[in-house]
């Protein structure tokens, strides 16, 4: 299967540590490809190899059907990237930063074009301010403008929400969706914020200790039959009592302090709700928990340092 | 017999006195010739050969005023003139009348036979201890003068004459004198070592003699030279 990115048997050995171990994956056109893994799993190393910041120890990378090693310049002309927090030249203005990178990419660096770009990210009125005066959110937006100044086909985002406030995180999420759905760009995003990946990714890769654990479309990977449901009730002990004496006992995971967890098929939620209300349980909320998080934690079971549920 | 001995002794004494007198007369004649020049301004080219100096030939102007003022100036640049160059003036040598002239064996300088006369100052405190003059008697010109001093060792002045011979002014004068060894204060500045200097120094015999040679182009004689020039 040929995609925008084809990685086969990618390996990176750092002295005593194998950070990436025979990793293979494919990113298709228009994918929002989520890269998931715990800290130290090899996400950043892999992304840096895609961006030629790190030399692979083995394996092959093809982007746009071209070998990365031999067609580096051609490929990078069509790639934009934000690597963790956006780093800028603090002593230059926002405009000058953007101009600098436009020139490095060999694209139109006319004032009109650059001001349009800054307008798009909401920085036009601060174009001439030194970057050191920008807030973190503004720096992020400038970083986005820099990553997109040359209108790349492929956008790679490594932990793009690091250090952002909730508004910034929401903005980033909207950007990713905009890039994918409206501008038809292919986006690769790595993050440890599973909720963010879940909301934007169409396909994903989970890696652990540099090895691929699983790859595929998000909705295919998450089994609706194992949906975690959280129940809050006015009288928790009454609710627990009812469940333990009903058919729902088989699905009970654990009663906790202020809610009860069950694992049922997603489509059984209405039935459960009905039975609880009928039995006189005062249901405050009945919610399906973060299924991706659950999936991820199950997949990487054994690496958990904190129990699934807090007591 | 007695008479012959006394007469012989008397004749010897007279002849000795007469020879010494002749030497003094010659010196005085030369001095008179030299003293006809009260002052001059001369242009010339100066070459310096001192162990620790490397300087280019320079166009200089030499000012002289009787009896012993001498100044060498480089109007277009700098001239590093040896101390004691004032002794390049012959009249300086003989400014003091009070000396004894003692003749010595004639010598040859080039093809010229010169009378050698030693001048001994009568003043015991004089800086000059001995001057030896090599005089071309026919032209009444001093071709060479070697002077020994108390403080500054021995220096020598050699002259060649041409069109200004009638004034006893040389076309070329070479002044040889003693120098002290030179060393840059340590640590002042780093020198560039091109790798060749060391071997040179080992072979060279260190000499403490310097030489100044002036080739005179022309003289303006007895037209007056202000004292301010010598300050």
């Amino acid at each position: 299967m040929t995609g925008i990115i084809n990685v086969s048997s990618l390996t990176k050995q750092f002295k005593d540590v194998k950070a990436v171990d025979s990793l293979s994956f494919t990113v298709n056109q228009s994918d929002v490809y989520g890269f998931l893994g715990q800290n130290g799993a090899g996400k950043s190393t892999t992304i840096r190899m895609l961006l030629t910041l790190i030399e692979p120890s083995g394996g092959e990378i093809e982007i746009f059907g071209l070998n990365l090693r031999s067609h580096r310049k051609e490929i990078l002309r069509q790639v934009g990237a934000i690597i963790e927090r956006p780093d800028l030249y603090k002593y230059l203005s926002g405009y000058e930063n953007l101009q600098l990178f436009a020139k490095m990419n060999g694209v139109d660096s006319s004032r009109k074009k650059l001001m349009e770009q800054l307008e798009l990210v909401g920085l036009a009125d601060r174009a001439n301010s030194k970057a050191k005066t920008y807030s973190q959110g503004m720096k992020q937006r400038l970083g986005i403008a820099i990553a997109l100044v040359h209108d790349p086909q492929l956008v790679i985002l490594d932990e793009p929400t690091n250090g952002l406030d909730p508004q910034g995180i929401a903005d980033m999420r909207n950007l990713i969706l905009h890039l994918s759905r409206h501008l038809k760009k292919t986006v690769v995003v790595s993050s440890h914020l599973l909720s963010e990946i879940e909301q934007v990714a169409t396909r994903m890769l989970i890696i652990d200790k540099g090895k691929k654990i699983v790859e595929g479309a998000v909705e295919e990977l998450i089994d609706p039959a194992k949906t975690l449901v959280s129940l809050e009730a006015t009288d928790l002990s009454f609710a627990v009592d009812y469940i333990q004496n009903s058919k729902w006992n088989a699905f009970l995971i654990k009663p906790v302090f202020d809610n009860i967890l069950l694992q049922i098929h997603r489509e059984q939620i209405p039935e459960l709700n009905h039975d609880l209300v009928y039995a006189g349980v005062g249901v405050l909320s009945l919610q399906a928990k973060n299924s991706l998080e659950n999936y991820f934690l199950q997949i990487t079971a054994g690496k958990q340092y904190v129990g699934n549920f807090t007591d | 017999m007695k008479g012959i001995v006394i007469s012989t002794l008397f004749l010897m004494l007279v002849s000795k006195v007469s020879v010494a007198q002749e030497a003094m007369d010659l010196v005085l004649k030369v001095k008179t010739k030299i003293e006809q020049v009260k002052d001059y301004e001369a242009t010339g080219i100066m070459k310096t050969n001192v162990p620790f100096l490397k300087v280019p030939m320079a166009d200089v102007t030499i000012y002289f005023k009787n009896p012993d003022k001498l100044k060498i100036k480089n109007e277009k640049g700098i001239s590093l003139v040896p101390k004691g160059a004032a002794s390049m003036s012959l009249s300086n040598l003989m400014a003091n009348r009070k000396f004894t002239a003692i003749p010595a064996e004639n010598e040859k300088i080039g093809n010229i036979t010169v009378k050698v006369i030693k001048l001994l100052p009568l003043d015991d405190n004089s800086e000059i201890v001995l001057s030896t003059l090599y005089i071309d008697e026919a032209r009444l010109l001093i071709l060479k003068a070697r002077t020994t001093t108390r403080e500054n060792g021995t220096y020598e002045l050699a002259m060649q004459y041409g069109k200004y011979a009638s004034y006893a002014l040389p076309d070329k004068a070479v002044f040889t004198f003693n120098t002290k060894e030179y060393k840059l204060p340590k640590g002042v500045t780093f020198d560039y070592d091109d790798g060749s200097k060391k071997s040179k120094n080992k072979d060279e015999v260190k000499t403490n003699k310097g030489m100044l040679e002036i080739s005179y182009n022309n003289y303006i004689i007895n037209k007056g030279v202000p004292d301010s020039v010598f300050k």
């Binding site: - | 640049g77 700098i78 590093l80 840059l184 204060p185």
Partner: protein, 293 residues
Amino acid sequence: MLAILRIELLKIFRRPRTYISFAAIAAMVGIVQLALKVDGISYLEFLMGGMKDSIEIPYQVVLNGYLVCFIILNLLLIHVPLLVALVAGDSIAGEANMGTLRLLLTRPVSRTQFMLTKFAACVIYTVMLLIWMALLSLLVSILLFGTNDMIITRNDVVEQIQRSDILWRYIAAFAYAAVALTTVAALAFLLSIFADNSIGPIVSTISIVIVFTILSEMQIPIYDDTVKPWLFTSHMLAWKGFFYSKSNGEGEAIKGTIENLPAIMRSLGVLIGYIVLFVGSAILIFRKKDILS
């Protein structure tokens, strides 16, 4: 590549710290000129004390603009390389520290081209610093002290150069100094690739220059024949050789000549060799380097 070079020069000259170097040079040169204007005669008496018993020295005319410039260049032997290292040592390490290095290296520019452009910008900065220094130390000195022949004091000989024979020597000396300082820049540039902070490469460069300069100047036989000829600092001083004239063997300096031009050319070759070595190594290592900053 020209466009990227312009970008690199923009980065250097938009940074306030760059102007500290130019201000520092102005201050240092100004201080020396002021000192010499106030009491240069005393300094000359000290410098030329070794010959004052034998030679009449006209100090007033000896202290002229050409000599003042020479004194300034001698005094700033260590200082100017420091200022060069400030920018060259920051060239890669500074980008790594700011985090911009990873951004730059994901652009469609080869690492070799990137490094060459960076180094070219360092060289241009170095040359401009030197031109600035030349203007201040030569032109301003001439304005303040006038011109005349120049008297140079060496370890065991004093040389005189005629006024009309000086300017071309200064041009040659400054051109040579540009190569010498570029060698320091190349060293700082090489060290810059190993650090994420520019302090390390800057301090390391200066330490190396100081230690090597001491080794170059110490008269210890064990070093003289073995180590000294290979230290680049031994050859950095060769700019002075342009002020040493040939002699005719009778103590007379021959106008328009250089005492040992082949030696200067050899030194120049050594410096160029070091530049190629340092920059070549920097490029080779950097091409394979993993950017983890």
